[in-house]
């Protein structure tokens, strides 16, 4: 496919897609390659702070994210994220730097120690928004090699790509539609269930595991009850919450769930004809075999 020249980004993988969800990085690169979305990795970009650094060291948080924004500005590219939390933290820092002259001055004093300055010119976007708004469902539909017909997919947005809506302007936070539009574009069937805009509990899963597992288990149980074959999410932390902790959710609800949790680019990649192994569908805690067998595919 010919590459639309404007879809070229500084690619901010975030920490989790380089560690516990490497399949997300692999699937993103494979999908963007096929769709002609140019990705330029940012190997010198630091962690976004995940909301934790913001919580106890807000000025450090802003300065560190200003470095990431300045690196992209120097390259002349906007940033593409693949994680709700990276997306929100970079966007919050960017809004602060653009709106608060004193904050920008402070950050630039810190950046000057490393030979950078930031002028506020970098935009931060997410893979979901690029597929939905910039590439668009129409072109995506045309790029599909293998319609995922018959696959029932429950969309799970996660919180931080919807709220606060002042920082996340793409979807209606109470009635979003971008994930449904992508699910339909790849030929699968979006499942309606109570839970798509709920919180998976991830930020407190280590510090308050019981509370977090109650939160994730309700989402999983509702999606399963509504007949989903899989859940798809644009966030690797929602993925971990729903996938790696699913056994605990089963214990909390007393029901077997075994619901595969797909990353957004894995779902799209399957429809683009990318081999499941290249999308690293073997790299999940909850087996994805049920999804693949429904599509007549194997993990080869």
């Amino acid at each position: 496919m010919s590459a639309p020249s404007d879809l070229s980004y500084a690619y901010y993988t975030g920490c989790v897609a380089k560690e516990s969800t490497r399949e997300l990085d692999a699937a993103t690169q494979a999908v963007c390659h096929v769709l002609g979305i140019d990705l330029h990795e940012m190997p010198a970009a630091p962690c976004c702070g995940a909301g934790d650094v913001q919580e106890i060291a807000p000025r450090l948080n802003t300065a560190v994210n200003a470095l990431t924004l300045a690196q992209a500005e120097r390259e002349g590219r906007d940033i593409l994220t693949i994680c709700n939390i990276c997306n929100l933290n970079l966007r919050q820092a960017n809004a602060e730097l653009r709106d608060d002259a004193a904050a920008l001055e402070r950050a630039n004093r810190a950046l000057s120690a490393a030979g950078y300055s930031y002028g506020g010119g970098t935009e931060v976007t997410h893979l979901l928004w690029v597929l939905y708004r910039d590439f668009g469902p129409t072109r995506l539909r045309a790029a599909v090699q293998r319609r995922l017909a018959g696959l029932k997919v429950a969309p799970f947005y996660g919180c931080q790509i919807l709220r606060p809506s002042a920082v996340n302007p793409v979807d209606d936070p109470d009635n979003p539609q971008s994930l449904e539009a992508i699910i339909e574009a790849v030929g699968a069937e979006p499942v309606s269930y109570d839970g798509r805009t709920r919180c998976c509990g991830w930020p407190i899963v280590v510090a308050r595991e019981e509370t977090a597992v109650v939160m994730s288990s309700q989402i999983l149980a509702n999606a399963k009850h509504a007949g989903a074959d899989a859940i798809v999410t644009p966030c690797p932390l929602c993925h971990l919450s729903l996938d790696a902790y699913q056994e605990k959710a089963e214990r909390a609800t007393g029901h077997e769930l075994r619901l595969p949790i797909l990353h957004l680019p894995q779902l799209v990649g399957l429809a683009l004809g990318i081999p499941p192994r290249q999308l690293r569908l073997q790299g999940h805690v909850v087996s994805t075999r049920l999804v693949l067998s429904k599509l007549g595919l194997a993990l080869v």
């Binding site: 560690e19 962690c47 300065a63 560190v64 950078y116 069937e189």
Partner: protein, 339 residues
């Protein structure tokens, strides 16, 4: 304007569970959902129970869930809620918005969440107020025994007022409390309203109870149980940054040396790994948050994660040009020390 409502009805003396009852009402253009409820009560069904007082977004009495989202009934336009009901139905049915006729889907009105229902739309707010009172939501002056000037005037400069100007608008309407998912999962969690109140008084220059209040909030069901979903900020009818206030409470508590909660340790571990390598050290995070015994008790989970190839490396490789980040951090900290 003709409007159709599905209103939650519940009488504890006769009903086992709430049920939705349909009402069709004729309303003037520009009517609010509260005016619709009054119309239902006046002309259709006098037994409908709901709370209301001021009718213009000041008293906070009439908060209910409309189309599943908590808001003030007096500030919700019926016409907007009819459009929202149709758009939500379109998503549920998997069709585009124009395939659901506006007006064909009833507007759903239910009581606030996270509170027991007394009757219809009236909830029991006892636990809500108990939690708000726990943070001592008033200006605590200096100890009268130690401070002979206790009756002195306590002036506030405009920049100090700015810190609380947003939060004083809180109506105590219960909207944020209703929507909080951490509270639904853990009913003893102190919740967003009390935390926003605590922040409002803690950052007020006329208050001296910061440490004791923050200590109170650093316990098991305190500020570190917030899951950062931002629903409180999103729904607040006065646009108060509730989650943002909770974030700042975390910083204030940490700066007061209140760091023993796993949530505080979790945040501390992030700062440490950011400084050490520029990236999250996912392997050491659980250990630093909950200690070695907790981590060992999760061995079964660790094995599963390892088998899927998801175990993070014990030592995070630093980001490229790590020196750049180090210099940015050093300059930020030097500037902060100076200030």
């Amino acid at each position: 304007m003709r409007a159709v409502f599905d209103i939650s009805r519940f009488n504890p003396q006769t009903d086992r569970a709430p049920r939705l009852q349909r009402y069709e009402v004729e309303l003037p253009d520009g009517a609010t959902v509260l005016e619709a409820l009054i119309e239902v009560q006046d002309r259709h069904d006098g037994s409908l129970a709901f709370r209301r007082a001021c009718r213009h977004g000041i008293c906070g009495s009439c908060a209910v869930r409309i189309n599943g989202c908590a808001r003030l009934a007096c500030s919700a336009q019926v016409s907007t809620m009819i459009e929202q009901a149709a758009a939500m139905a379109a998503r549920r049915r998997g069709v585009s918005d124009d395939q659901v006729e506006v007006g064909s889907v009833p507007v759903r009105v239910e009581p606030l969440g996270n509170m027991p229902v007394i009757k219809d739309l009236v909830t029991d707010t006892e636990a809500f107020w108990r939690k708000v009172r726990r943070v001592r939501p008033w200006l605590d002056p200096a100890d009268p025994q130690r401070d002979p000037e206790r009756d002195a005037e306590r002036p506030q400069k405009p920049v100090e007022w700015d810190k609380v100007a947003e939060a004083v608008l809180c109506l105590e309407c219960g909207v944020c409390y209703s929507e909080c998912p951490a509270l639904s999962a853990s009913p003893e969690f102190i919740g967003p309203t009390a935390l926003a109140k605590a922040h409002r008084y803690t950052v007020d220059n006329r208050d001296v109870a910061a440490h004791s209040r923050l200590h109170e909030l650093s316990g098991e069901h305190g500020l570190w149980e917030c899951a950062r979903c931002y629903l409180c900020s999103e729904r607040c009818p006065k646009h108060i940054g509730v989650r943002e206030a909770i974030t700042e409470l975390g910083e204030l508590a940490y700066d007061e040396g209140l760091r023993s909660d796993p949530g505080a340790k979790h945040a501390g571990a992030f700062v440490d790994s950011l400084k050490e390598s520029g990236r999250l050290n996912g392997a050491r995070l659980p250990m630093k948050t909950n200690g070695i015994f907790w981590t060992l008790s999760h061995a079964a989970t660790v094995v599963k994660i390892a088998r899927a190839g998801k175990l993070p490396a014990l030592h995070a490789t630093p980001i490229e040009r790590h020196d750049e980040l180090k210099r940015v951090i050093a300059r930020t900290e030097a500037d902060e020390d100076e200030a």
